[in-house]
């Protein structure tokens, strides 16, 4: 037991967290969100098998997510209506995975012949085709309405009915953990390493005996398996699969989660899935401009980080591995830099909120609620106030960023100095 904890500490911890989370967040809202996070962690990790591990930018990976969702819904309905034999609901994610795998093998064979832009464009083409099909093949996709289903079918061993969301929570988190572990192990296999090699330098891969096409194809197929697994979980979670699960927006969501969390690190997509889903559930109720902020966050991360948020964390890895006391000198500059950013953001967000309020309101009302205060968006005062926060905030950013970067560089230099013999 002690050995298990030592060797697989992270996994044991994840398992423990998974068990206790529903006791901490007991509301229905929280459980719904946790379920969605579980589904999207699997999906974004699957997506990152392509993007981060294999260097393939896909705009259409939701295809395998969505299609597996539809098949799962039909399967459940078939069992419910007794024209299909019973299959344990607990194992349905495997069924979804196999559906994803099936389509991934077929489509992947064609699309992975080339990498880069060609691959991206082909993925876009297939995504558009699939979206069009949802409206044409009405028998299967049922147009814009999608497919309704009921996960409470068949026997109920140990009283697990999958009626309450909490049952589904344990189903999803179990599969999330299994799929995450499986995808992690995959990165440590010959296939996983050669997939990285193809990402870094496809040409050389051919000269160490591997076919780049085969590796990409395999990566694509396996990734589609996990996307399909996530799709099945999605169907079980919502008991509904709509055409939006298959299309560009869902693929774009994966891209956002992975990029914001960081494609270069295994945990990046997990971080991204948690953060985006959390913000999406919470912010979308508070502000209509949520997508605008998501877009800005995405742009800032693409432009100013290497490897997203997890990249920002792990760029400090050499420091904590060498001597965490080096962080001492970085505290003040970091606090100042982050503080200035927050001040500037408060001002900018205030203005965005007022613009949004004024341009989307349906009545002549000009009183908006901004930062828990009622302000008259048609008067000059709140605008002046926001500007008065933004301007010094931005100025402070310009002053505090260089020292922040300096303190980082100094710490890294110190690390290098200690490593040199």
């Amino acid at each position: 037991m002690a050995g298990l904890v030592r060797r697989h500490g992270m996994w044991v911890a994840a398992f423990a967290v998974m068990l206790v989370l529903p006791w901490i967040f007991q509301t229905g809202f929280a459980i719904t969100m946790l379920n969605q996070i579980g589904v999207l962690i699997v999906f974004s990790l699957a997506y990152n098998m392509l993007l981060g591990q294999g260097g393939m930018l896909s705009f259409g990976h939701a295809l395998y997510f969505g299609i597996a969702g539809y098949f799962t819904a039909h399967f459940l309905n078939g069992v419910g209506e007794d024209w299909l034999p019973y299959f344990p609901v607990t194992l349905l994610p495997i069924f979804g995975g196999l559906i994803g795998l099936f389509f991934g093998i077929g489509i992947g064979f064609v699309s992975t012949r080339r990498a880069g832009t060609v691959f991206a464009m082909i993925s876009l083409g297939f995504a558009e085709m699939a979206t069009a099909l949802t409206l044409i093949l009405v028998v299967f996709f049922n147009g814009e309405e999608g497919i309704q289903t009921d996960r409470m079918v068949g026997p109920e061993p140990l009283g697990i009915t999958f009626g309450p969301d909490i049952h589904v929570y344990y189903l999803i988190s179990f599969w999330c953990l299994v799929a995450t572990a499986a995808m992690y192990v995959l990165t440590r296999t010959p296939f996983g390493r050669m997939s990285n090699a193809v990402r870094d330098n496809p040409e050389r891969v051919e000269f160490v005996g591997y076919s780049t096409h085969r590796i990409r194809w395999l990566a694509f197929a396996l990734s589609s398996f996990f996307a399909g697994l996530a799709g099945a979980l999605h169907a079980l979670n919502f008991e509904h699969v709509g055409f939006e699960t298959i299309g560009l927006e869902q693929s774009g969501l994966a891209l956002f989660m992975v990029w914001i969390g960081g494609a270069r690190n295994f945990v990046g997509p997990i971080l991204g899935a948690i953060l985006i889903t959390y913000l999406n559930s919470n912010l979308s109720d508070i502000t209509d401009a949520w997508y605008l902020y998501l877009g800005i966050l995405f742009m800032v991360i693409v432009m100013f980080t290497q490897g997203g948020l997890s990249g920002l964390v792990f760029m400090h890895e050499p420091i904590w591995k060498t001597d965490y006391r080096l962080f001492g000198r970085m505290m003040a500059p970091y606090a100042l830099g982050i503080g200035s950013t927050i001040i500037a953001a408060i001002g900018v967000i205030g203005m965005f909120e007022m613009i949004y309020f004024l341009s989307t309101r349906v009545t002549e009302e000009t009183i908006a609620v901004l930062y828990w205060m009622e302000v008259d968006a048609a008067s000059a005062l709140p605008w002046i106030a926001c500007a008065a926060i933004t301007a010094p905030g931005v100025a402070a950013c310009r002053r505090t960023y260089p020292p922040m970067a300096n303190s980082y560089n100094e710490a890294i230099a110190a690390v290098k100095g200690r490593m040199a013999p």
């Binding site: 440590r188 050669m194 990402r199 050389r204 000269f207 160490v208």
Partner: protein, 250 residues
């Protein structure tokens, strides 16, 4: 006569309208070191690219141990036993030195596309990777990302990846370029050791290295082999001196 390890029969290659390789006939005997020399742009790297499948030949045949390999894909040719290095460093930048070398070894230790073998547990594989790392002087850089290495370390890694396969035919394209004098000497020693039971082809501008290592030398000028012989006779060859060597090594 024994079957040559590598044989070219009337090989031609054009880029656009320019004939770059113009009817090459060449046989490299098994378990020997063959050096290919010639002025810049003579077509040495192009010949490597033709043999290893990077470019298609326009006319002619290429044989490996008597078996035709003309215009097969690079990975097919590599699997049949030719491993090459590149003149312009061609490594996996975002992977560690150790991972780079192991990638060179995987196929040839029969792992293929395995997604069920946990790499950490492959003792023999990892031991051999470490061994190559030590032999190429990269042991102290084990976990450094390849893209972060100094230029000469990247050159060493280039060679290490090539050697990792354990192929019977090793083709090195200017392996010592960019290395210091000391590093060059180490590399030459390494090549000599590696070549003991292998066929080794080397393109090299450093004539000291060439005449030190090679059993046979071919001289390439404008896409044609103007001489192919043992080092002593290449040294004395009139045409070679005029075309290429000048008086430096005579």
């Amino acid at each position: 006569m024994k079957t040559p390890a590598v044989e070219l029969r009337g090989v031609w290659k054009n880029f656009g309208n320019t004939e770059i390789i113009r009817g090459i006939d060449l046989a490299i005997e098994k378990d020997t070191i063959h050096a290919m020399i010639g002025p810049n742009g003579a077509g040495k790297s192009t010949i490597y690219n033709l043999i290893t499948g990077r470019y298609h030949v326009d006319r002619g045949q290429i044989l490996l141990n008597g078996e035709e390999i003309t215009n097969q894909t690079p990975h097919e040719i590599n699997r049949k036993g030719i491993s090459r290095s590149f003149q312009v460093t061609n490594i996996f930048h975002r992977m560690s030195v150790f991972e780079n070398i192991r990638c060179g070894m995987l196929w040839h230790r029969n792992y293929k596309y395995s997604f069920w073998n946990f790499l950490g547990r492959q003792g023999e594989l990892n031991r051999r990777t470490e061994e190559i790392m030590v032999r190429t002087g990269l042991a102290s850089r084990r976990d450094v990302l390849a893209g972060m290495l100094s230029y000469s370390d990247q050159r060493a890694l280039e060679i290490a990846i090539t050697l990792a396969s354990g192929a019977d035919v090793i083709m090195l394209d200017e392996p010592t370029s960019g290395m210091s004098h000391g590093e060059t000497e180490q590399t030459v020693e390494l090549i000599r050791k590696v070549a003991r039971d292998k066929t080794l082809v080397i393109v090299e501008h450093d004539m000291g290295v060439v005449f030190d290592l090679a059993h046979t030398i071919s001289v390439l000028v404008y896409g044609e082999i103007i001489a192919c012989d043992v080092p002593q006779r290449i040294r004395g060859d009139r045409a070679v001196q005029e075309a290429y060597l000048g008086t430096e090594v005579a």
